[in-house]
């Protein structure tokens, strides 16, 4: 089962795995994911996507471009700061947490954990 972009539950399987493809759901958890990852170090967009895929074994089927509006929104909210760096001759925009962003990491992660636990309990109730 996966939640479609239209919000309906639809069956979806790829290579024997159940994947999360719902873009609204992804939008909801993306800030927490981004904050958590950037709390480790400054990263550029593609690096974030790659890390998410690595750490979730590809469970999160993110439309990669959707990351950027999220990053920009968080930057405008003052949670992230960006900086262009030339790496191996290529310009890359790196994002890092601001002071406000750092303060919010734990809160957002705990919020997501609580949500997952509650959802798990709810879905496993029967």
């Amino acid at each position: 089962m996966y939640i479609s972009s239209k919000g309906a539950f639809e069956p979806g399987k790829q290579e024997g795995k159940t994947m999360i493809r719902n873009s609204e759901l992804m939008k909801g958890i993306a800030p927490a994911v981004i904050l958590k990852l950037l709390s480790e170090r400054a990263m550029y967009g593609y690096e974030i996507i790659r890390l998410v895929n690595e750490r979730t074994n590809g469970e999160f089927q993110w439309k990669e471009g959707a990351l950027y509006p999220c990053l920009h929104k968080m930057e405008n909210e003052g949670l992230l700061a960006s900086e262009w760096r030339i790496v191996e001759g290529k310009p890359r925009k790196y994002y890092a947490l601001t002071g406000t962003g750092k303060e919010l990491v734990e809160e957002k992660v705990n919020e997501s954990r609580t949500f997952c636990t509650a959802l798990n309990q709810l879905l496993c109730f029967e």
Binding site: Y44, I49, K63, E64, G65, Y68, K90, P91, R92, K93
Partner: protein, 609 residues
């Protein structure tokens, strides 16, 4: 380019940001770096390049949705940036004009360029009168009081002089000044006679008329050492009769000091270097043509006395030998310049020599002490000229060496500092010229680029960068300026500008290099930023447009800050100067001191009026 699926995708994703080319390019560059990285990763996994690009684009998501999402995410930024750009567009020209106006001390330059102090022009023809008149909003009558002098009145017809007198009929002081001007150039005896009737109790107009006649009756030697002699006895007789008329009148009043004081009050010069130059200019426009009359009448009266004695009219002769006792106290009491005191001293010396020559022991003894005053003053040790040249400012170096003043290097500090400030004012003007040229050049490049329909856009700094810019472009020059101007051993400001040539030149170069250095740094930053936006070679128009605000900020720094700071410093040092500024009669406090000293010493020996 658009055949490339990645570029086509980028165009689709960023098309809604077209109103903000910088933001659009930045988004495009960021998304491009992602898609290229994804394509390269897929290529490394074994896909063909075209297939990898297609896959990367597919995984990237729907272009339309992403364009909407990016617009939504960047909307607050987009709105703010649009407002900033609008502000920059609207404020640029007013700020540019304000900064251009403030950067240059226009009064200083207009005064300098039009001043006869710095040019060979005839003071009467200089345009400074017009310049000063415009600044102070003087009426034509006030301008006449301020600038009328011998050269000016020489061009007036008798009718014009009568009109002038009518315009100032309630002003006896100015009338006396006009009277004194008539003693120079073409003699105008009929006008002097009219002036004599206007103030019948004052012997001044008759005195001037007598002086003019006496001068015509005298024969001045072509060679030095020869004696002045009477060449026209009848004319001399008439001159002496006119002198008698003058000296018999209840009083003899000239007006030079009063008119000088009135001019200074009217001018109300600003307490800065420009105000002082205006003051000097107005003071220089003051004519003292009656000095020659006093000198000639002293000479003529003695010669006439000797003539009468030769003719056996000894009793009458005595009156002319002693005419100086009425003439010189008038000149001494009303004097306010050093030159007037020099004339008093010279007359006394000549009178003494004449008395000795004719063997008049009593008068020689009487004149010995007053004649020695000027001689003693000249012999008195003056200021150390070398010290003045080493530590003085422009004015002290020019004016103090001939004066007798007790001076220490510390006394010279205000004028020295003012000289450095004048130099800085000039440097500000040079920087102004360079920045204005830069603005014109880059503005034209940007305009041409726009007219050719090339995309040129303003790069806006990030908030974080503004702090760094303030530190770099404002605080650093300020710190440098303070360091160079406040710490004597770095800038060597305990020495005169000319005695400190190398260090002054080095500092001037540093001063001039700062804007060039900053412009270079800014160019580098623009190139770097454009590279991140995917443009390797920055078009001239784009560079020009982005340099314009920087050049404007530099103008504001120099105009709105440095120049005003310099003006404040000028006022500070002028308030502490004791040699030049604040003279109630015009030239300098140092000259006033010398005049006062000689005047007091002469007055001790001259009869009371």
């Amino acid at each position: 380019m658009e055949n490339d699926p990645i570029e086509a995708k980028l165009t689709e994703c960023t098309r809604m940001l077209a109103d903000d080319p910088e933001l659009q390019r930045e988004n495009r560059a960021e998304l491009r770096s992602h898609l290229l990285a994804a394509r390269d990763a897929l290529t490394a996994e074994g896909q063909g390049e075209a297939e990898a690009a297609e896959t990367a684009c597919r995984r990237f998501g729907d272009g339309e949705e992403l364009a909407q999402a990016l617009l939504q995410a960047d909307l607050p930024r987009l709105k703010l940036r649009a407002k900033i750009r609008l502000f920059v567009r609207l404020a640029f020209l007013p700020l540019l004009l304000a900064a251009a106006y403030l950067t240059v001390d226009w009064r200083f330059f207009l005064t300098s360029f039009n001043s006869s102090l710095f040019t060979d022009r005839d003071p009467a023809k200089n345009r400074l009168a017009g310049v000063i008149g415009k600044y102070h909003n003087f009426t034509p009558q006030e301008l006449e009081i301020l600038f009328l002098n011998s050269g000016e009145i020489g061009r007036y017809s008798p009718g014009q002089i009568r009109e002038l007198l009518k315009r100032h009929e309630d002003d006896p002081v100015f009338r006396r000044y006009i009277c004194s001007l008539l003693a120079s150039g073409e003699p105008k005896p009929e006008l002097l006679a009219e002036l004599s009737t206007l103030e019948p109790e004052n012997g001044y107009a008759d005195l001037l008329a007598a002086g003019i006649q006496a001068r015509q009756a005298l024969k001045f030697p072509a060679r030095k050492g020869k004696q002045v002699a009477i060449q026209d006895r009848d004319k001399m007789k008439r001159a002496m009769e006119r002198l008698d008329v003058s000296l018999k009148k209840p009083y003899l009043r000239r007006c030079s000091r009063e008119i000088a004081e009135r001019r200074m009050r009217l001018l109300d010069a600003a307490p800065d270097i420009c105000g002082y130059m205006e003051q000097l200019e107005v003071a220089c426009a003051q004519s003292l043509p009656d000095l020659i009359v006093f000198r000639d009448l002293c000479t003529a009266s003695v010669l006439w006395g000797e003539q009468l004695e030769k003719e056996g009219r000894k009793a009458e002769a005595a009156r002319y030998y002693d005419a100086w006792k009425k003439l010189l106290p008038t000149l001494n009491d009303s004097s306010f310049t050093l030159i007037e005191q020099l004339v008093v001293g010279t007359c006394l010396k000549q009178l003494h020599q004449a008395a000795v020559r004719r063997g008049d022991r009593a008068r020689a003894a009487e004149l010995e002490a007053p004649a020695a005053v000027l001689k003693n003053w000249r012999k008195a040790p003056g200021a150390d000229t070398q010290m003045i040249l080493r530590h003085g400012g422009f004015f002290t170096s020019m004016l103090l060496p001939p004066l007798r003043c007790r001076i220490t290097p510390e006394d010279l500090k205000p004028d020295r500092q003012i000289s450095y400030l004048m130099l800085e004012t000039c440097l500000c003007a040079v920087i102004w010229a360079a920045l204005t040229l830069g603005i014109l050049f880059h503005g034209t490049a940007a305009l041409v680029s726009r007219l050719r329909k090339n995309q040129v856009f303003l790069l806006l700094p990030k908030m974080g960068e503004i702090g760094k810019d303030v530190l770099l472009y404002l605080l650093l020059p300020l710190a440098l300026y303070l360091l160079l101007t406040r710490i004597d051993w770095i800038a060597g400001r305990e020495y005169a500008v000319m005695a400190n040539g190398v260090r002054t030149a080095v500092l001037a170069v540093v001063f001039l290099l700062i804007p060039i250095l900053f412009a270079g740094m800014e160019k580098r930053r623009i190139r770097k930023r454009m590279r991140t936006l995917g443009t390797e070679r920055v078009p001239r128009g784009q560079m020009g447009l982005n340099l314009l605000p920087v050049l404007l900020i530099a103008l504001i720094v120099f105009g709105g800050f440095m120049r005003l700071w310099i003006a404040k410093e000028q006022r500070y040092w002028i308030a502490r100067d004791r040699f030049f500024y604040g003279s109630p009669v015009g030239f300098s406090c140092a000259e006033d001191d010398n005049n006062r000293l000689l005047k007091e010493q002469h007055a001790r020996f001259l009869p009371a009026k």
